[in-house]
Amino acid sequence: MSAVQATTAFDTVRTPDPANRPIKIHTASVKVTYGQKEALHGVSIDIPEKAVTAFIGPSGCGKSTFLRCINRMNDTIAGARVEGTIKLDDQDIYDPDLDVVELRARVGMVFQKPNPFPKSIFDNVAYGPRIHGLARSKADLEEIVVTSLQKASLFNEVKDRLSEPGTGLSGGQQQRLCIARAIAVSPEVILMDEPCSALDPIATAKVEELIDELRANFTIVIVTHSMQQAARVSQRTAFFHLGHLIEEGPTDHVFTNPLEQRTQDYITGRFG
C-alpha cells in the first residue's frame, strides 16, 4: 500500500477532524481509468460517520467519478477500471466475494437529475424495500414508505396522492422523492451527485435543509458545484482538481483558511 502511495504525484493537504468522528469510509490511492484515460490519479481520503462531506472542484476534476466508486456504479460503465482500496466499515468493497447488490443497498445514491421511475409515488418508494424483502406485510411496507417520505419531508405534500405517478411531481419534489426512495432501503451511506443542480433556489433550500436533518442518521457524501451549498450543508470539504485530491479538512477551515493556493484560488473564484 505504501508503495502505491509513494507514486502519488500530489500530496493531499489534510486538516484532521476536530470532532474526531469515527471513520465510515476509508479510501487509499483510488485510481480510475476510462479506457486509456486516467480520470483519477490516486485519491486517499477518510470519510467520517454521520456527517456531511462535500466534494468540490471544477468540472471534470474527478469528484463525481470518485463518488461513483463508493457504491461501484462505475461498474456499469464499459471500459471503466478502478484500482486502490475502498473500505466501508473495514470491509473492502471491491472484494470479489462482496455482492455488489448488497453494497448498493448499504450505500444509496441520489443523482443529479431527479429520476423517479414511471410508477406511482408509493411504488417508487416501495421499490427498494420490495426487491430486498424488507417488509413482512403490506402494513409494514406502508409504514416504511410513509416514514421514508416523512424523513424526506415530502409526506405532507403527497399524502393524498400516493397512487399518482412520481413523474408528475415538480422537480424539487421529484428529487426529494428520490431521496425518500434511497432512504427506504435504510442505507448507511447516501451519495449525492449534485442533487440540487436541476432545482430552483426554493427547492434547493428545502433539499439542503433535508440533508442537514439526514446527517443525524446517515453518512452523507455530496458532490456540488455550489461553494455556498458546500459551506451551508457540509462538515468536511474535499477539494478536487484535475483528478487529484488537493485539500481536505473541516468545511469552515477549508473555506476561511485554505492551506493550498489552488484551493484558495478556486474558492475565491479565480478559476473553475
Binding site: 456504479m73 464499459a78 445514491m109 443523482f111 423517479p116 414511471p118 421499490y127
Partner: protein, 485 residues
C-alpha cells in the same frame, strides 16, 4: 423531338439560366446599383426555376393529355357497330394503336400497296418485326391513319410549347434580376412547394389504392350481400372462368379464422424470442457481440418470404407431420397451420426484436442507474423498471409485427395450403385472406364476376384490419415518446 431530348434541352437551358442569373446579379452589384438582397447563387436559382418549371409543367400536362386525346380520336374514327359493343371497346382501341405503330414502320410504296389491297397489312408489319394477332380490318387502318396524324401534330405542339415556355421563362426571369429582387424568398418558396409535392405523392397513392379497391369491392357487394360475405362460414366460390354465371358461397369467416390462427402461432414464436433477444442485445450484450449479432438477426428480415416457404414446405412441415401430428393421430398433412405459424414467427422475429431493442435502449439511463443504485440486480431492473417504461413502445412493435404477419402470403401458400377451413386443430390445412386474394386473381378471368371481385372485397377488409392495427400501434408508440421528451 422525343421527350428525352426535350428534358435534355430543359436541363441545359436551366443551367444556362442559372449561370446567366448569377452573372447578372454579380455584375449589377459590382456596378454599384445597390447591394444584393440575396447571395448571387439565389439569383441563379431564381432564373433556373423560372426557366425549368413552366416548361416542365407544360411537358407533364401534355404528356398526360396525349393518351386521352388519342383515344378520343380513335373512337371518333371507329364505325358505329364497333362502338356499340362497349365491352370490346378498349381491345379495339389498343388494336388500332398497334396498327398505328405498324404504319409508322412501313415505306410509302408499301403503304400504297396496303391501301389498294395488293398485300395484307399484317404480313407487311410482320416483315418489319411487328407481328399482329389478327388481320387488319379496313376501318382500323383509317382510324390508325387519323391517330398518327393527331399524334404527330400533338408532338409538334408539345415541342413548340416547351420551347416557347423555356424562352419566355428564361428572358422574363433574366430581365427581372435586380439587386432589390428578393430572390431568396422565391427560391425558398419553390423548395417548399417541391417538398409538399413530394409528401403528397405517398398520400395520394394511398388514397388512389383505397379508392380503386373500394369501387371494385362495392361492385362485389352489389352481387353478394355484405352480410353473407362477412358472416358466411363456407368459402366455395366455384370456378371463376370467363362467362361463368354460376355463383358460389363467399364466406369470409374461414379465411379470417385461418389468418388469425396462423398469426397467433407466429406471435407465439416471435414475441418471446424477439423480446428476449432484444433484452439481451440492449442490456447484457457487450458492444462487440451486439455489433455482430444485431445485423445477423436483422438478416432474417431480408430473406425473401418464398425462401421461408421452401423451408416450411421441405423441412418444417414434414418434421411436424412425422414427429408430432402422425404419432398423435391429429393429421396427415405436411401442410398445416402450425408449420406456417412457426416459420412466419421466425420471419418476424427481427421486426419485434429490432424495434424493441431500440425502444429499450431509448429508456433513459438515469432510470437504470436509479434502480441499480438501490441495489436492484440487472434482471430486477429490467423487469420492474425498464420493461414497464418501454412497454407501450414494445406493444407498438408487436402490433406492427402482427400486421406484417396478417399480410403474409407466400409462406402460407407453401406451408398451410389453400384449403379454406375453420378448425381448432393446428395440424390441418387452412388458409388466409391474402392467399385467397391471389387464388381468385390468377388464371383466366373476367373482372366482372363475383369470383374475381371478391378479391377486392377481401383486399379492402384486410386493408382496414391492418390499417387499424397500424394506427393503434403508432398511437401507442407516440404516447410512449411523449413520456420522456
Amino acid at each position: 423531338m422525343g421527350p428525352l431530348w426535350l428534358l435534355a434541352l430543359i436541363a441545359g437551358l436551366s443551367f444556362f439560366g442559372f449561370v446567366l442569373g448569377r452573372w447578372k446579379s454579380v455584375v449589377l452589384s459590382g456596378k454599384g446599383r445597390g447591394t444584393l438582397a440575396a447571395r448571387p447563387g439565389y439569383y441563379g436559382a431564381y432564373v433556373l426555376i423560372w426557366t425549368a418549371m413552366p416548361a416542365l409543367l407544360i411537358l407533364v400536362a401534355l404528356s398526360i393529355a396525349k393518351p386521352i386525346l388519342i383515344e378520343h380520336t380513335v373512337r371518333a374514327n371507329l364505325p358505329e357497330q364497333v362502338l356499340a359493343n362497349s365491352t370490346q371497346l378498349s381491345l379495339e382501341v389498343s388494336g388500332v394503336e398497334q396498327v398505328a405503330a405498324g404504319l409508322k414502320l412501313v415505306t410509302p410504296e408499301e403503304l400504297e400497296n396496303i391501301r389498294i389491297g395488293v398485300v395484307s397489312a399484317r404480313s407487311v408489319f410482320a416483315q418489319h418485326g411487328l407481328p399482329l394477332g389478327q388481320d387488319v380490318k379496313p376501318y382500323q387502318l383509317t382510324a390508325a391513319g387519323a391517330l398518327n396524324l393527331v399524334s404527330d401534330g400533338l408532338d409538334t405542339a408539345v415541342d413548340a410549347a416547351v420551347v416557347a415556355a423555356l424562352a419566355f421563362g428564361l428572358i422574363f426571369a433574366f430581365v427581372r434580376v435586380k439587386p432589390r429582387l428578393r430572390a431568396r424568398n422565391l427560391v425558398e418558396n419553390t423548395v417548399l412547394v417541391l417538398l409538399i409535392a413530394a409528401s403528397s405523392v405517398a398520400i395520394l397513392t394511398t388514397i388512389g389504392i383505397v379508392l380503386s379497391l373500394l369501387f371494385q369491392a362495392l361492385q362485389f357487394f352489389s352481387m353478394v350481400s355484405p352480410v353473407s360475405f362477412y358472416f358466411g362460414t363456407v368459402w366455395d366460390p366455384r370456378f371463376a372462368a370467363a362467362g361463368s354465371t354460376e355463383s358460389g358461397q363467399f364466406g369470409f369467416l374461414p379465411l379470417f379464422w385461418g389468418t388469425l390462427y396462423i398469426s397467433f402461432f407466429a406471435m407465439v414464436v416471435a414475441v418471446p424470442v424477439g423480446l428476449f433477444s432484444a433484452v439481451y442485445m440492449a442490456e447484457y450484450a457487450t458492444s462487440k457481440v451486439r455489433s455482430v449479432a444485431k445485423p445477423l438477426i436483422e438478416i432474417l428480415a431480408g430473406i425473401p418470404t418464398i425462401v421461408y416457404g421452401f423451408f416450411a414446405l421441405t423441412t418444417v412441415g414434414p418434421l411436424i407431420r412425422d414427429y408430432i401430428a402422425m404419432p398423435l393421430g391429429l393429421g396427415t398433412s405436411g401442410n398445416n397451420v402450425l408449420t406456417a405459424g412457426l416459420v412466419m414467427g421466425i420471419m418476424i422475429i427481427p421486426y419485434v426484436s429490432s424495434l424493441s431493442d431500440d425502444i429499450i435502449t431509448a429508456v433513459p439511463r438515469s432510470l437504470r442507474d436509479g434502480s441499480l443504485a438501490l441495489g436492484a440486480t440487472r434482471s430486477e431492473t429490467m423487469r420492474q423498471v425498464i420493461l414497464p417504461a418501454a412497454l407501450p413502445g414494445v406493444v407498438g412493435a408487436i402490433l406492427l409485427a402482427v400486421s406484417r404477419a396478417i399480410g403474409e402470403t407466400m409462406i402460407v401458400v407453401l406451408a398451410a395450403g389453400v384449403a379454406a377451413r375453420a378448425s381448432l386443430n393446428p395440424f390441418e390445412e387452412m388458409t388466409t385472406i391474402t392467399v385467397k386474394i391471389v387464388n381468385q386473381l390468377t388464371g383466366d378471368l373476367e373482372f366482372t364476376s363475383p369470383q374475381t371481385l371478391v378479391a377486392f372485397a377481401l383486399g379492402i377488409t384486410l386493408f382496414v384490419i391492418t390499417l387499424g392495427l397500424n394506427v393503434l400501434a403508432l398511437t401507442i408508440v407516440r404516447k410512449y415518446r411523449e413520456q420522456y421528451e
